[in-house]
């Protein structure tokens, strides 16, 4: 079944305009639970109450405050908060381009497929140009009262727009100290590299199956019939200390496995 567009806009690149529809490129297949109260097994709701008296406070009476010191708040009025919101717009402004591998993977947040909304010629030409040049466009747009930054790229002839995290949302490894403690020996590193190289292969997303989702649903079905099976507790493991002998054993068992196959 065809998906529904969640938003419509127009890519703006210099003087060129490309009308597009936006579709989520991902869907979460989580098992969904509700929160219930433990006695009556009814759904729960949330409300705001006075912290001291426990009395409910109506939504229309709630004010918002920014804490400048512990217990000290600057009150922000609804119209002031409203004025901080970005101007609504249908434009996705693509102001500059960078080589595709320039954007660290950590910044990519949520991907959307763009589909053509009329001008198919420009749409497919832009996707092809981005792929050929191996560039991604840096895009800015406002969707549902929120400003976004994104990376616009071509994937298999189609346009994909991924939202990007901002500078403060990503912690980089170079902000962190090195791991100290005992260092592995040269020989151990060589063995480990050998082990890693034996496990090298191609990325195929279909190799990963969500077995847990199935098990949870199966357990729920059994429980619904009143026959919940007993589950064993989780054990924890210890760190490997005698690294070189374990590495050698790992390599030997992999070689054996390969011969047997």
């Amino acid at each position: 079944m065809a998906a529904r567009a969640i938003w419509k806009g127009e890519l703006k690149l210099g003087t060129n305009k490309v009308p597009v529809k936006l579709y989520s490129a991902v869907e979460d297949k989580n098992v969904r639970f509700h929160i219930l109260d433990d006695t009556k097994r009814n759904r729960v709701k949330q409300h705001m109450v006075d912290a001291e008296s426990g009395e409910e406070v109506e939504a229309s009476d709630i004010r918002k405050g920014y804490e400048i010191e512990p217990g000290k708040f600057v009150i922000l009025e609804e119209d002031e908060l409203e004025s901080l919101k970005p101007e609504p717009s249908r434009e996705i402004e693509v102001s500059e381009f960078v080589p595709s591998d320039e954007i660290p993977q950590q910044f990519y947040e949520r991907p959307y497929f763009l589909g053509p909304d009329g001008d198919e010629k420009s749409y497919f030409a832009l996707a092809e140009a981005l792929e050929k040049q191996q560039r991604e466009g840096i895009a800015h747009w406002v969707m549902r009262n929120k400003a976004y930054t994104g990376a616009l790229g071509g994937v298999d002839g189609y346009l994909v727009l991924s939202t990007l995290r901002n500078a403060g949302e990503v912690i980089a490894a170079d902000e962190l100290p090195d791991v100290t403690g005992r260092a592995p020996t040269k020989k151990e590193i060589e063995l480990a590299k050998h082990l890693v190289s034996m496990l090298e292969g191609e990325f195929d997303p279909k190799e990963f199956k969500d077995e847990y989702r199935e098990r949870v649903l199966e357990f729920i079905a059994k429980k619904a019939k009143g026959r919940a099976p007993r589950l064993a507790p989780v054990k924890t493991k210890r760190a490997t200390t005698s690294l070189d002998s374990v590495l050698a054993k790992s390599i030997a068992s992999l070689k054996k496995g390969k011969r047997a196959a």
Partner: protein
Amino acid sequence: MPRKSTTKRRASGGTSEDDGQERGGVRPFWSGTITFGLVSVPVNLFPANQTTRTSLRMLGPEGEPLSRKYYAEKTGRDLENDDMIRGYEIDKGKFVTITDEELERLAPEKTRDIDLKLFVKEDAIPPLYFERGYFLTPAGNSEKAYRLLAEAMKERGDVGLATFVMRGKERPVAIFSDDGILRAETMRFSDEVRSHKQIGLPEKKNVSAATVRKFETLIKKKTKRTFSPDKDEETERLLKLVRKKQNKASNVVQIKDYQRQDEGQPVDLIQVLKRSLAGKR
């Protein structure tokens, strides 16, 4: 839509994280073991992404502090964390309950570890698959094995792949070695990523070389060599407004005997990670 901060506690299952904060430490998001071959590396996992959005406090009409409470929809009874349980709706209004412990125990044995059975080159995974980042820190005297894995992966230019269960969901994960530090990126399963066919986008059209060239020329003209991430301008605008208002007394409320709520309390993730990498809690 942007997801909420990973450091925010879930509605139920908030157990003893507050105690951890009082000691100046923060509980890892997940603790487990990375294995490759027969080598085990116990690790703690902490978020590598954090929100920059400021959380505003909800106050009453006179500025009195409010708190968010759960209540039973039918009876109106106020509920504490211990009074709530997870339920799966099997029929309309009919639920099967399941505890956190059951969810944890249901995880297949092998997915409690991050068992790296496959390594691929760093750029082999399309960004579409990545979900969220975490740093891994050594736990239980695993420094040597940790450094070994990080070094071997770095020298090979590889990332390790596995699936594991964290907080009630199984997910594929890619382990990167960033200059000696292991970073985990959770990924989406292939059936969670849509294709242009599934969405129903029109068939690819052949377009004239001239139109493609027009865009290529534009792209080349406007290419920058490096990427620099944006700042959170919305939050900056909010802080500017706060600074403007705070000098006028009528805009400010002071709460006596204020008990800080842990809800939305900012956690300095970098400090947490530094402590954990140094082997401290």
